[in-house]
Symmetry: C2
Subunit: 388 residues, 2 copies
């Protein structure tokens, strides 16, 4: 009898060991090729795998994601989701759970993570200002009231955040490299800056103006940076055009030696010399561009458009500046995200409830993924880029 029990226990132990190893192997997952898709209307996040071209999970209960953005921890395990309702959620991509969540204001517009991954900052409309949180615990470590709506919040090298004040027309640099944050205020940015970007090298911060034409550039290598007006013809013009959506300024990636940016209210993209920041040409497009995104190698630019022409995507060849391909993925193309080395591109088609995946060289469609009103697509490779 004892022998039977012993044999049984040995057998169970072996079964158990085999089973444990299977569970462990199944559980292991690398995070370099993951990403998330914001599902606007349901306040959820779809977790996706680029290599599998598939969704691998869904996280719910993230509040109002009607204008949400996402940044990632340096290890690419955690996504920090900035909701429209001031919610800051920390999502664990490996366990597929919400690791933390705070409702940090009434109304927010985007956020950023410091270059060392230790701090997460959120830009607020109501109340204005920026709040900074410990990325580990989501405890607030700094509150920077501005008396103004804040927009264009980005990270800059050396534990700095840069953001701009809508009413005051100022840009502030908050330096967190020492114990106490140090603020540098730069006045004279212009009338009603509505969005801003930082170039991929973290050097130039450029704000778009709603209240006047032109943009304002700051060279962060200067100390203090002096505002410089560029592209005086950029904007709605003297006879204000009907603008369906102010274009996003995020992601002026270098396309060869030029930046490309969406015109305001016109069916055009503009080419800007990356060195002089002067306009060098324009390309006519299908509609009013919303995003003009450069493929990581800069050889192509993919463009989507404002309502009512938002069923189309155009591809522009950088050296010639010519449209070389058009496609109609479907109703309401909201976002475009390239795989990190640019061999594929993911396109969210909100009203079709679909993400489409294309080969960027052959333009062949490689796959699709069902999603609830998908908008922003964010791949974890962003963790390693400045200003994304």
């Amino acid at each position: 009898m004892t022998r039977f029990i012993a044999a049984g226990m040995l057998f169970l132990t072996i079964c158990f060991t085999v089973w444990i190893n299977t569970v462990l192997a199944d559980t292991l997952r690398a995070t370099g090729d993951l990403g998330v898709v914001v599902e606007r209307s349901t306040g959820s996040l779809l977790i996706v795998d680029q290599s599998e071209r598939a969704a691998i999970g869904r996280i719910e209960g993230l509040g109002d994601l009607s204008h949400a953005s996402v940044v990632f921890s340096p290890d690419q395990r955690f996504a920090f989701v900035f909701g429209r309702d001031g919610g800051l959620s920390k999502v664990d991509l490996l366990t597929q759970t919400v690791a933390g969540r705070v409702l940090q204001s009434g109304n927010a517009i985007g956020g950023a993570i410091s270059d060392d991954g230790a701090l997460v900052a959120v830009s607020n409309y109501e109340p204005g200002g920026v709040r900074v949180f410990d990325a580990e615990t989501l405890e607030m470590v700094a509150d920077i009231p501005t008396g103004s709506k804040t927009i264009g919040l980005v990270d800059a090298p050396a534990r700095r955040f840069v953001f701009t004040l809508w009413e005051a027309g100022e840009t502030w640099i908050a330096d967190f490299s020492r114990d106490e944050p140090e603020i540098t205020r730069i006045e004279g940015i212009g009338k009603n800056p509505y969005d801003a970007l930082i170039t991929a090298d973290g050097r130039h911060y450029i704000a778009g103006l709603f209240g006047e034409d032109g943009l304002t550039a700051l060279d962060l290598w200067q100390s203090p940076p002096l505002p410089r007006r560029i592209l005086g013809g950029y904007g709605r013009g003297e006879k204000a055009l009907p603008v369906y959506k102010m274009p996003h300024l995020e992601g002026w990636a270098l396309a060869g030696e030029r930046f490309v940016l969406p015109a305001v209210g016109r069916h055009e993209v503009l080419w800007v010399d990356a060195r002089s920041l002067e306009e060098t040409g324009r390309t006519k497009t299908h509609g009013q561009p919303v995003f003009a995104v450069s493929r990581p190698d800069g050889r192509q630019v993919w463009v989507n458009f404002a309502h009512p022409l938002n069923d189309t995507v155009q591809v522009i060849d950088t050296p010639s500046g010519e449209v070389i391909h058009s496609l109609k993925p479907g109703p309401a193309v909201l976002h475009i995200e390239f795989t990190p080395r640019g061999h594929e591109v993911w396109v969210s088609v909100r009203d079709a409830g679909r993400i489409d995946i294309y080969d960027t060289h052959s333009f062949e469609k490689l796959g699709e993924i069902a999603a609830e009103t998908p908008s922003g697509i964010f791949f974890t490779a962003r963790a390693h880029r400045t200003g994304l």
Copy 2:
């Protein structure tokens, strides 16, 4: 009695569930902040975690790693290690095991992974040529004999590999975007090209020449690319200088608007205009530079030196071109690797058996890690860059 057994089983089940969850949570690990350090003399690889500033494992039995390099799969789970003895090893960073290994030639020099992560290519001395393997299985999918030693193998966008022939002075482009590889041969690269690089955007391929002065640039956006001689004064000069080590050409990162590269046989680095590829200046350095590596934001360049001055690292400020900091980590500094957003730098000090970690803004030393004769340091963020 039955009740006791039932209670006991319930208790055991609870204990077991708690334990399993603990094991699973401990086992989960993201891969975005991992890396490997090549341990030259022991043929082993140290697995490191950037966030913990620590080693987390060691892989042994990888053959002759006296001149080894590493690339990563797109998910950042697997490291492909190219040994001097022709060994190609696939290391799983999560299970910390060798997932595959082939001895694919007698003598090899570096490799590359295609932009989609499907193909791994190895550059061989003996026999010459390039062999291409399935990244999943390590089965050979193409053998490209060249009748010449091959050097300067890199990946280029659209499933292409580019490499150069030492004896023949030719560069070949192998295009794997269709079923059969298509080879484009470009003659007239120069006498004895010894190393080459591709710029971060995948556009310019530049070969250094051992047999004559100057370098040869190819613009891969041209079809076919035409060789163009640049920097005629670059090399050993008419009165050949004593060269302790030909400098590495890998990693001409953009430093602002200029590339920086190590001079040959001189105590200098050269500044090259990124657009015209013409020399714009030089900075005097402590010794003959081996690596001149740009911090990801381009604001600093860190330089190490050839024997016998190889105990020192210098930091150059990009806008002024001046040396702003010197440090002496110890004997035989062999490699320098920045964290992806540049806030820290890791330095391998071979003869001290140590990796040193510095803050790149304050220059404060943040930590050190023991390693056996460490040489190359490779962080997984390379998976998402072209030509690394």
